[in-house]
């Protein structure tokens, strides 16, 4: 997942880096094909070099040391709203076939949730305003649902024209990377475009809560190179973030 997520970052782009696995995807991209990428962190940090050691949060001291700008959340979110941010990363508890994400609560009644989740953080903003959204999720039938209980971070709503009707200025999910495969969005709906090595389409279908659409030219996800694995393992030697998903 991390290696595939890193591939989504293009050289020279401004990237809104989220919590957890995206922190590592940014490091991998910077040290491989995208040395010119710039990382924006919503608490108010801009970096053109990855932090020197593993980050548990984006506010850890090593992420501040060597930054090129320490600023305010409103400055970074303002750049995002202006359209200055090429790509943003988020994950979520639940996603639906249109790429809408729920990180707020499971259950129909917001005031009395079955499971209270942490909330939007900056996720709703990144999903609303980045030029391209990269979504990373563990693949599980309870997470990839036909309809989510609460739309925290808007994807394509109900169809490919929905964002325009809602007034969202741009963007939408460009890719959903899971522990089993990779989806792209066609007319606002997720289509499986590659399966990870050793994973069958049948297994993905079983683990997906919506009727699975499969691209005619379904591929196999390129495994991470030895160099990329080395970068990930050097950066996260104990596998704090990556032991469940590389």
């Amino acid at each position: 997942m991390v290696a595939q997520a890193a591939r989504e970052i293009r050289d020279g782009e401004r990237v809104f880096v989220g919590m957890r696995l995206p922190l590592i995807a940014f490091v991998v991209a910077k040290r491989t094909h995208a040395p010119g990428a710039v990382g924006l962190f919503e608490l108010g940090i801009v970096r053109d070099e990855p932090a020197s050691e593993l980050l548990y949060t984006m506010g850890d001291n090593p992420n501040v040391a060597g930054a090129v700008w320490c600023a305010r959340t409103i400055d970074l979110m303002g750049m995002l709203q202006r359209g200055d941010v090429h790509a943003g990363f988020i994950g979520g508890a639940e996603i639906d076939v249109h790429g809408n994400l729920n990180t707020t609560a499971i259950g129909a009644d917001r005031a009395h949730p079955a499971v209270q989740l942490p909330g939007s953080g900056g996720g709703g903003d990144i999903a609303s305003l980045a030029q391209r959204l990269i979504v990373i999720m563990p693949h599980d039938r309870r997470r990839l649902r036909e309809k989510v209980d609460f739309v925290t971070s808007p994807g394509y709503g109900t169809d490919g024209d929905w964002r325009r009707r809602m007034g969202l200025p741009r963007g939408g999910p460009s890719v959903l990377i899971t522990t089993l495969g990779v989806f792209r969005f066609v007319d606002g709906s997720a289509v499986l475009v590659s399966r990870h090595p050793g994973v069958s389409v049948e297994r993905i279908r079983d683990e997906t809560g919506w009727p699975l659409a499969v691209a005619p030219e379904l591929g196999e996800t390129e495994p991470p190179s030895a160099a990329v694995l080395r970068i990930i393992r050097e950066y996260d030697p104990e596998g704090f973030w990556t032991r469940r998903a590389e």
């Binding site: 108010g44 548990y56 506010g59 499971v115 209270q116 996720g123 925290t152 929905w162 809602m166």
Partner: protein
């Protein structure tokens, strides 16, 4: 700290804290609020990283306006979950925000504007759940927009590396929503890791996050942010967050944890003494900035 909380934090007050997001969270303030058993507080902030969870679990909170309540490196916040899912120890009203809208609400408060218009969250369920927002039509372009009403906290608490006795406060590292929250508030408590003379502040006024003229109280409290980090002073104590996560899965576990780390210590210096060598190992001297001549 005891005096500042006693004098400035009333039951029912709205309080912004954790305004720099993951770093510089004033845990020492939150713990003193719990010791003084304040009730019905309205917590305001972007993410809080377990400070809100502790206040919620201790029964101090009636309402939350926040973008995220959890444990950043460990996962969900157990006390917040119990409050929302089971009403334990009491029900809490939530006004969902994103990090952008909480920043905009505080910026509106800081500049005396009634609201700020935005394009974020359009079409999401957040404006439906948080009925303080209004959807509107931009009178200039005709576009759909969202109006985020100003938030004016009764009290904003800002933890900083250094301040003078008037409250002129230097904060370095990311500011998050610290400045907007301080400028928006009716009163501001500055918690300084180090108390310095006015000349030190005035030697580098660009580093001032809030001027003393906006500050109501200054508390000199070294180590006030542990387990969160303070740039150039001490590092984040990751394992402390993870221990809290494991320890507070049950109500009994939460009570035991609060008993040990909050009710069982008189003040911050006793808390740091209890941490012992663990605290001294977190010390981070950072690196010096290049000189800027004024």
């Amino acid at each position: 700290m005891r005096e500042a909380v006693g004098r400035l934090v009333r039951d029912g007050a709205s309080i912004a804290l954790g305004c720099a997001l993951e770093p510089a969270i004033p845990f020492a303030f939150a713990h003193e609020v719990i010791r003084q058993r304040r009730q019905d507080l309205h917590l305001i902030g972007p993410i809080s990283d377990i400070a809100f969870d502790q206040l919620i679990g201790a029964g101090c909170v009636g309402r939350i306006s926040a973008a995220w309540v959890g444990n950043v490196s460990a996962g969900l916040a157990h006390a917040y979950r119990r409050a929302m899912e089971e009403g334990m120890p009491r029900r809490v009203e939530v006004r969902d925000h994103s990090n952008f809208t909480i920043a905009q609400a505080l910026l509106a408060g800081a500049v005396g504007a009634p609201y700020l218009p935005t394009r974020t969250l359009l079409g999401s369920d957040i404006p439906r759940a948080n009925t303080t927002f209004r959807e509107a039509t931009d009178p200039f372009s005709g576009d759909r927009i969202l109006l985020v009403p100003a938030i004016v906290p009764d009290v904003t608490v800002i933890a900083v590396q250094r301040a003078d006795e008037d409250g002129n406060a230097h904060l370095w590292g990311p500011w998050g929503v610290s400045q907007e929250a301080a400028l928006a508030a009716k009163s501001v408590i500055v918690i300084a890791d180090e108390l310095v003379d006015r000349a030190t502040i005035a030697s580098d006024p660009n580093r001032t996050v809030v001027p003393g003229t906006k500050v109501t109280a200054v508390v000199h409290e070294p180590g006030a942010c542990h387990p969160s980090p303070l740039q150039g002073r001490y590092r984040r104590d990751h394992e402390f967050f993870h221990e809290y996560h494991r320890a507070t899965r049950s109500v009994e576990g939460f009570e035991t944890w609060i008993g040990e780390w909050v009710m069982g210590v008189a003040d911050r210096s006793a808390y740091l003494a209890k941490l012992g060598p663990r605290w001294t190992e977190l010390k981070d001297t950072g690196r010096p900035a290049a000189e800027a001549r004024f």
